[in-house]
Each structure stands twice: as C-alpha cells, then as structure tokens.
C-alpha cells in the first residue's frame, strides 16, 4: 500500500490549503470582468464627444463665453480650410479625454496592478490600480496620469466597474475634432466609470465627466463602445501618409507629387528668408 491514512490526510490538507498559497502569483482573471476583444464606436457614429448629439455647436458644451468664442472661431477656420483648434493633423496624440472617443478600435488589458488601454494610433494609457496616489513630481502628459479602482457593485464577488481619475495634463487638448477647447491651465480632471451594459455584455459604457476651467460646470457624457470579437489589429502610424506640413503656425499641404500647396484660399507661401536661392 503506497499511501497510509496519514499520508492521504497530509496530501489532502496540502492540496486544499497548501497549493493555493504556493500559487500566490496567479492572476485570477475570474475576479475581473470580461472586457476581451476589440472595442469600437457604435455603428453610424462619428467621433463627436457626446454620442447622442451632432458634433460642434450641437454638443452644447458648457463652455464659458471666452471658450465658446474659441470653439466658434475654430469651426469657422475649419470651414475656411484651416484646422482650427484641432491639432491632430500634426499627428500629436489626442490625449485625454478625446482619445476615449475611440477613432480606431481599442483594447483593454487587465492586470492586477494596472489596466492598459491600447489604441491603434496612440501610445497606450496606463491606469494604475495598485492603490497608489497621484505622484507629486510626475511629468505632465497629453494622456495624463490615471488611477483606477475596481468595484463589485452587485456584490457577486466579481469586479464589474472600473472608476478612473486622470490628472496632470499637457496641452493644448480638445474634446473633439471641431476644436471644443479645454483650458490652457491643463488643470483638467477626467473621471470615468467603465462597465458592461447589464443587458448586453458586448456593449460597454464609459461615463466620462470632465471638470475643466473652460467649463461652467462638469460635463458628463455616456460613451458607448461595442465589442468586436472578430479582432483585426492595424498599425496606424499617423505620420506614414500625413500630407499636412506645419511651418511656423501655418498648415500647408504636400500633394502626391511632393509639391507644397496652400491649404486654404489665398494662403501666403512660407517665408524662405534662410535660403540663398529663394524666389524673389
């Protein structure tokens, strides 16, 4: 008889109590929601900030008069062929919160101490869930510094909601392509509550509240993302085929033959004072 009563008891105790302790490094994914796959904007929507309204003035952003004027100028400039306040044509990241408009699909990678949001066209967001506080000396960034907290709102033993707060920004940043501006002080606070729709696990809600000095009050929108399980990733290198060229504060266009062109009617060419053979 290979096993005595005592050895079986010892083995049972070891298996019951010992192995889970030895296995302390296991990441129990069953404690976290299933956010796998690729998340996209709902069908038929553009990249407007509030998905329930059209872009631009129809957004009714709670802007202070000074910033409302900036938005109106931006849209007028865009109507005339300019870029207004939208800096994305330079391939700079959209930063937060605009990057969560999900132009191209995104992916969530959930680990115990951090949740990554991967984009096709931007560097990833890091959302720290390890209990840290906002550092005092972190370098400001367009994506900001994000701290998250998981919660089990229905008490079923599994986290279902990720609350995120993001601070410490660089700018300029806008809320959408029309140029809805954020304040130049970059003191924005972005609060997000991410969770799956209770009746449709392939729909994610991201309740995003922006607190910003350009606004008269916090602005909350409900962003919806739809899950695509038929995942296809694309490497979106913005600069690869970017025909916009910024010289000083002017945006020009380079055509398919490589010639510089005006980007708007009657635009003056760049000042070539540093060239010895410049046209007179």
């Amino acid at each position: 008889m290979a096993f005595t009563k005592r050895s079986i008891v010892a083995l049972a105790l070891l298996v019951t109590f010992g192995l889970p302790v030895l296995d302390a490094t296991a990441h129990d994914e069953s404690k976290y929601p299933d956010w796998s796959g690729q998340w996209r904007r709902p069908r038929g929507l553009a990249t407007q900030w509030d998905q329930d309204k059209k872009a631009g003035l129809a957004q009714e952003a709670p802007l202070k008069p000074e910033y409302q004027k900036m938005l109106e100028w931006s849209m007028a400039d865009q109507a005339a062929g300019g870029q207004g306040l939208d800096t994305r044509y330079t391939c700079i990241t959209n930063g937060m919160p605009r990057m969560m408009a999900v132009i191209q699909p995104i992916e969530f990678v959930i680990l115990p101490n951090i949740t990554y949001v991967h984009f096709e066209a931007f560097m990833p967001r890091r959302i720290y869930t390890d209990g840290r506080d906002f550092p005092k000396d972190a370098e400001p960034s367009f994506a900001g510094y994000s701290i998250g907290k998981w919660s089990d709102t229905d008490g079923d033993g599994r986290f279902d909601t990720l609350e995120v707060e993001t601070r410490n920004f660089k700018g300029p940043r806008t809320v959408e392509f029309t140029g809805i501006p954020l304040h130049e002080d970059n003191q924005t606070i972005v609060k997000e509550t991410l969770s799956l729709d209770k009746s449709n696990p392939d729909l994610m809600h991201n309740l995003i509240t922006i607190i910003d000095n350009a606004f008269t009050r916090p602005w909350t929108v409900d962003k919806r993302y739809r899950r695509d399980r038929n995942v296809m990733w694309f490497e979106d290198n913005c600069t690869e085929n970017n025909h916009h060229v910024v010289i000083g504060k002017e945006n020009y266009f380079v055509n398919h033959e490589g010639y510089l062109m005006p980007a708007r009617k009657n635009q003056a060419p760049p000042d070539l004072r540093f060239f010895t053979d410049a046209p007179k």
């Binding site: 083995l11 296991a26 994914e29 700079i92 560097m123 694309f234 060229v245 490589g258 510089l260 000042d271």
Partner: protein, 278 residues
C-alpha cells in the same frame, strides 16, 4: 471508510484548486516585469558591441552596401540618409528592439505585449496560431508569433522564441541607415531569456534573415532592468523641427522659419502659390 472520506476530500480539494480555470498562473513564466533599458554605455547601434556605422560590419550584399554608404555620406552632408525616423514613423522591426528609450513586457497566456515609449506596441501571439491568421497584414512591426520553452525542465518557461514576418518598409537597423531589403521579406528570429547569472539582464538574441544580407545576421542585445520605473510620454511629433516636403528634409527654426537642412539646399518649389515668398 476513513480512506474513502479522505480520498473524497483529496479529489474535492484537487478539483477546487484546479477550478479557477481562467486563473493566469504567472509562476509558470519568467519574471520579465519592470522597465527594460539599453545596457549602460551602449548607444543605439544595431550590434551593441560595436560603434554604429561601418564598424558594424554587416553582411550586406554589394548593392545594399552602396546604399548604406550613400546614406552615411548624405548624413555627413547634413541629410538624413536612409534614416526615416526623422518623419516620426515607427522604427519597426528589428530596429525598435534596440530600445531607444525603454520598454515593458506583459506576459499573458495567449499574447505578449511589448510596450514602448515612442513606438506603437508589438503583439507577440503565443496562442498557437500560425502566419496564415487572417489579421496578418503588413506592418512596420511585422506579425510576431512566439513560443515558450522550458529549457531546463524545471516546470517553468525560461525562453521565449519569436519569429516575425510580413513587413512594410522602408526599414533600417540603426541611425546610420543600414538598410533592409525593399522586398520587405525579412524574417526576424528572437530568443529572449534572463541572464542566468543576473536576472536583471534580459538577453535578446536577434537573427535577421533578409535579402539585403549575404547570410543571416545575429546580434545579441542585453537589456537592463530598471526597478525604479518612471514612464514618459515620448511623442515624436510634439517637438519635431524636421519638415519633409516631397523627398527633401528641411528644418524649422525656433521662430518658425523654414531653413535648409544642408549646405546649398534648394528651397521648396512654390508653383502652387499665387503669391511668391519674401
């Protein structure tokens, strides 16, 4: 009776232990956590044991050697040669594995993500797929498939082997413009493992098979782990003063004027403007 009771307990306990099937057992994988940087004292040359440029002594075909020499000559004259990073395009593979800045590696059972500070992430699939996968579309990073190996048989993986195919171009290995072939048929093979005598060194043996080479070219990269990790958002386009117009690279001065990037450079052709420059 007692036997049956304890045998039942044993089966139940074993079942309970196995039950969380979705648990990801990190203890099976090597500790690649933290921030990885270039070895102290190395520059961003491809073979880190040699200086960039000619000392690399790459096994290039004669045609590509000429191209490389032209690239270095252009750079000596103020141009950028074959180095396309000036446009903020991704370095792609294999050059991105030189770690210009720093990188982080995430291991999950089905995928490994390599996250850079200034390039889009690499996805290395370890879910058993092959290169016929439908999402295998050409890219600068290529399509990477990895395989974990337990070389010393201790029940824990210690080596990650990766093969990467299906590229876009142009790509090069280092700032001198050391070129890969225009056919983009490169195959990159990597073996990554922790140094046995120093677990804070990650070794990456990289072999490049490319039509611009007369034979496969293997280099060994050593990355050092930085435990005091600090991440920085490195946005290449944020302060890029290079301006590409057609095939010409110009420079923009601090006060926003277009400048020649090399001696005697012609200004851009302004034929599409109705008013002339100053």
């Amino acid at each position: 009776m007692l036997y049956r009771l304890f045998a039942g307990a044993l089966i139940l306990a074993a079942t309970l232990t196995v039950a969380p099937a979705s648990a990801f057992d990190e203890s099976k994988y090597p500790d690649f956590q933290g921030q990885w940087k270039r070895k102290v004292g190395t520059v961003n040359s491809w073979d880190e044991t040699r200086r960039p440029g000619l000392p690399q002594d790459p096994p290039l075909t004669a045609e590509y050697r000429k191209r490389w020499e032209a690239s270095m000559a252009d750079q000596a004259a103020g141009g950028q040669g074959n180095d396309s990073r000036v446009t903020c395009i991704s370095n792609g593979m294999p050059r991105m594995m030189t770690i210009l800045r720093q990188l982080e590696i995430f291991i999950r059972p089905e995928i490994i993500l390599i996250v850079f500070e200034n390039n889009l992430p690499r996805r290395i699939y370890t879910d058993g797929r092959d290169f016929t996968a439908k999402d295998n579309i050409p890219s600068y990073n290529g399509y990477s498939i990895g395989k974990w190996i337990d070389e010393n048989g201790d029940g824990k993986y210690d080596v990650l082997e990766v093969e990467t195919h299906n590229f876009k171009g142009p790509r090069n290995y280092e700032p001198s413009g050391l070129p890969l072939h225009d056919d983009n048929e490169s195959i990159i093979r990597e073996r990554m493992y922790l140094d046995k005598s120093n677990p804070d060194t990650l070794v990456n043996e990289i072999t490049t098979i490319d039509s611009a080479l007369t034979k496969p070219w293997k280099v060994v990269k050593n990355y050092r782990r930085e435990k005091n990790a600090e991440w920085y958002e490195d946005l290449c386009t944020e302060n890029n003063n290079h301006v590409m117009i057609g095939k010409e690279n110009y420079f923009m001065s601090a006060d926003g004027y277009l400048m020649p990037a090399k001696k005697g450079q012609q200004p851009p052709d302004l034929r599409y403007f109705s008013t002339t420059g100053n």
